[in-house]
């Protein structure tokens, strides 16, 4: 990273204005029939910021957007520090939930594969499916795929595709999903908070924000457990991806591809 890659007053000024305006608007809920969606300042800031950055509006240059992305990468650390300070006094409570907290990590790592791989194969994807579904495809995961297959391989393209979609829509999508799941009444707020620790900063922030709006009385617990789960996901992430996720995805691909993959081909034939 270049030394001046963080210095841009225009970006900071935009953020200041966005923060002031969006915090002024405050929390709202939008009823969409099946339930209410939590709308809150960070979500508005994300959406309005995205509109400002649209290349067709010519407000920001690509260089400035890259600086915004660089700042994003380190700004999350302030949030992490704040979460850590919430966790410190609650350590006994966190240990009390230890079994669930540990086990749910299996869900974080296996969830992408178990749900993603079969659907990817049904849609007719081949080796791209392995890169796309072995993890949530953030930067550390991309590095693992690039090292093993090269970034120009089918696996690399699959991983990069999910990475790009996640960067653009991950936080927004997951916060809406968190709102919807919160209102089914099937889950305890803390279960969902742990689920929000997906291992990506902006996604975790947006999800815990949505949950905190819907369960205001548990807001602090949500921050604590989302933070704790996210920390564990981050610590274990690289190791699990190398030693479990990737081999497991490949194993499952070998088993499932002949069944689901061929079916997709037949469907395509029928369509023709």
């Amino acid at each position: 990273m270049q030394e001046n890659s963080l210095r841009n007053w225009k970006i900071h000024l935009f953020v200041l204005i966005l923060v002031c305006v969006t915090e002024f608007i405050g929390v709202k809920t939008l009823n969409i029939g099946i339930g209410a969606i939590a709308l809150f300042p960070m979500l508005y800031a994300l959406i309005i910021g995205a509109i400002i950055s649209l290349p067709s509006l010519k407000i920001l240059k690509t260089k400035e957007m890259n600086i915004a992305a660089n700042i994003l990468g380190i700004s999350f650390m302030l949030f992490v520090a704040k979460l850590g300070m919430l966790m410190g006094p609650s350590l006994p409570k966190i240990f009390e939930a230890g079994i669930s907290l540990g086990l749910q990590e299996v869900g974080h790592f296996a969830g992408t594969i178990l749900l993603g791989l079969p659907i990817a194969l049904l849609l007719g994807m081949k080796r791209e499916a392995v890169g796309a579904t072995f993890s949530i495809d953030r930067e550390p995961n991309l590095a693992i795929i690039a090292e093993k297959y090269g970034s120009d391989s089918p696996e690399g393209r699959g991983a990069l595709g999910v990475y790009v979609c996640g960067t653009l829509f991950g936080a927004l999508y997951l916060s809406v999903l968190a709102s919807v799941m919160a209102q089914t009444g099937w889950f305890h707020p803390i279960s969902l908070a742990m689920g929000a620790g997906v291992g990506s900063g902006s996604m975790m922030a947006a999800m815990s924000g949505a949950l905190a709006v819907i369960f205001p009385e548990s807001a602090k617990d949500i921050a604590i457990f989302a933070g704790a789960a996210n920390l564990i996901t981050t610590i274990l992430g690289t190791y699990i991806c190398v030693f479990f996720s990737l081999p497991f995805t490949n194993y499952l691909y070998k088993k499932l591809e002949p069944i689901l993959g061929r079916k997709a081909k037949q469907d395509q034939m029928k369509n023709i």
Partner: protein, 147 residues
Amino acid sequence: MKDKILTFVTIGIIALMGNWIGYNVSPTEALPGMMIIVAVTILGFFLAKIIPIKLPIVIWVSMLALLITTPIFPGNESIIKVTEQVNFMALATPILAYAGLSFGKDLKEFKKLGWRIVVISLVVYTGTFLLSSLVAEIGFRLTGKFH
């Protein structure tokens, strides 16, 4: 490093404004807490630099923040008290504003993608969230915690 410190201070000031407008805590009241948060973050980066064990910075910052707020640390109670003045949501708003402002740079890449990968990415994110929440929920129901 100087640029990083300057960036953290700037974001800290922006978050103080948001904390004021959105959560009615005046910047003077929240300033000591914000200074601790910024200091811990900077110290975390510093530790990652000087300690030869290669760990992500997130871990250093988290561990440091955890340590100074646990009961074993002298003065932890006053640290907790002042940092409580900074709402965690107020700190997240600027972060997502930066995320929003960087949106346009990946649009070109996105337009090259097929619809399949877009669907799969949503499925992948759904899978990781849903399955982990489900396992946590089952864990809680079996152990009787929080229910």
